[in-house]
C-alpha cells in the first residue's frame, strides 16, 4: 500500500516536473537537439537541476542499508557493462528522440493532455517495448 501511494505521488511529481521543465513540449526538445539552428539550451538546465537534486538522494541511498519507507534491502543497479546492446539501443532511442522530440516520460504526459499525436507516439512506443520482449536479448 505504501509503495502504491509512493508510486502515484512520485509519478505525479515527475509529470509536473516534466511540464514545468518544458520536456513535454516536443518543439522545445527538438530546439535543444538542433545545435545548428537557433539553439535552445534549456534542457541542459533540466538535466543540471535534476542531477543536482537527485545526486543528494542517490549518495544517501548508497549509504543506507534499508529503504526508508518499505524497509527492504537497498538494491541499486549493479551492472557496469558497456556493450553493443547499451550503445546501439541508446543510439536507436536517440534517433527516435530526435525525430519526434519525445522520450518515454513526456510520451505519457502528452497522452494525459489528450493529444491524439501523443497517443499515437505512446502506442508505437508500447509496441516497440512489446517487440523488444520478443527479440533476442544477447548483445
Amino acid at each position: 500500500m505504501k509503495m502504491n501511494i509512493l508510486g502515484f505521488a512520485t509519478g505525479l511529481l515527475f509529470g509536473l516536473g516534466l511540464l514545468l521543465a518544458g520536456m513535454a513540449n516536443p518543439a522545445k526538445v527538438q530546439g535543444f537537439l538542433d545545435l545548428a539552428g537557433l539553439w535552445d539550451p534549456s534542457l541542459a538546465f533540466v538535466m543540471g537541476g535534476g542531477i543536482g537534486v537527485a545526486i543528494v538522494f542517490f549518495t544517501l541511498a548508497k549509504r543506507t542499508p534499508k529503504t526508508l519507507l518499505t524497509h527492504e534491502d537497498m538494491k541499486l543497479p549493479t551492472s557496469t557493462v558497456i556493450d553493443q546492446r547499451l550503445i546501439i539501443g541508446s543510439a536507436l532511442f536517440g534517433i527516435g528522440w530526435g525525430i519526434g522530440g519525445i522520450c518515454p516520460g513526456p510520451a505519457l504526459v502528452l497522452v494525459g493532455t489528450g493529444s491524439p499525436d501523443g497517443v499515437l507516439f505512446a502506442a508505437a512506443m508500447l509496441a516497440g517495448m512489446l517487440i523488444f520482449e520478443r527479440l533476442p536479448k544477447k548483445a
Binding site: 509536473l16 511540464l19 537537439l33 545545435l35 543540471g48 527492504e72 534517433i95 530526435g98 522520450c103 516497440g128
Partner: protein, 151 residues
C-alpha cells in the same frame, strides 16, 4: 550554418532548473524511500517482462501502474493551477510511429532512457549510464541535424 546561436526567445533556464529539480526530487524520493529507479522506460517496460502485467510474480506491478497513472494525470493536476504550456509536435503521424517504435525498442535494449540513465544513472555516477547518455545525445543531435539541415 553557424552552431550554438542561442534561441533567446525560447530560452527558459529558470523553469528548466526548477522543473529538473522537481524531476530529481521525484527520482530521489523513489530511490531513498523504496530503492526503485525512476526510469520511465523501465517502469513501463517492466510491466511486459516475465508476465508481470498478468501474474505479478514479484508483487512489483501495482506501483508501476500507479506511477504511470500519476504521469498521465499530471496535466490535469497542472491545469487546476495554471494553463498547460504550449506543446508543439515536430513530425508527421508516420514520423511519430517510427519515432515511437525506435524509442520503445531502443530504451528497452539499453535498459534506460533520459530518466533512467540520464537523471538516475548519472546521479549514481555510473559510467555505463554516461556511455548511454553520450550515445543517445549524439544520436539525437545528428538526427536533428540531418532532418533540419540536410534532408
Amino acid at each position: 550554418m553557424p552552431f550554438f546561436q542561442i534561441d533567446l526567445a525560447n530560452f527558459t533556464p529558470l523553469a528548466g532548473l526548477l522543473g529538473g529539480a522537481v524531476i530529481g526530487l521525484s527520482a530521489g524520493l523513489l530511490v531513498l524511500l523504496a530503492g526503485r529507479i525512476a526510469g520511465i522506460a523501465g517502469i513501463i517496460g517492466g510491466l511486459f517482462s516475465a508476465g508481470t502485467l498478468f501474474n505479478d510474480p514479484k508483487g512489483d506491478r501495482n506501483w508501476r501502474i500507479l506511477f504511470i497513472l500519476g504521469l498521465l494525470l499530471a496535466p490535469a493536476v497542472w491545469s487546476l493551477f495554471a494553463p498547460l504550456p504550449a506543446l508543439g509536435m515536430v513530425t508527421s503521424p508516420v514520423g511519430l510511429i517510427v519515432a515511437g517504435l525506435l524509442v520503445g525498442i531502443g530504451t528497452r535494449y539499453a535498459n534506460g532512457c533520459t530518466s533512467g540513465h540520464g537523471i538516475c544513472g548519472l546521479s549514481r555516477l555510473s559510467l555505463r549510464s554516461l556511455a548511454a547518455v553520450i550515445s543517445f545525445m549524439a544520436a539525437g543531435f545528428i538526427t536533428v541535424y540531418l532532418i533540419k539541415h540536410v534532408l
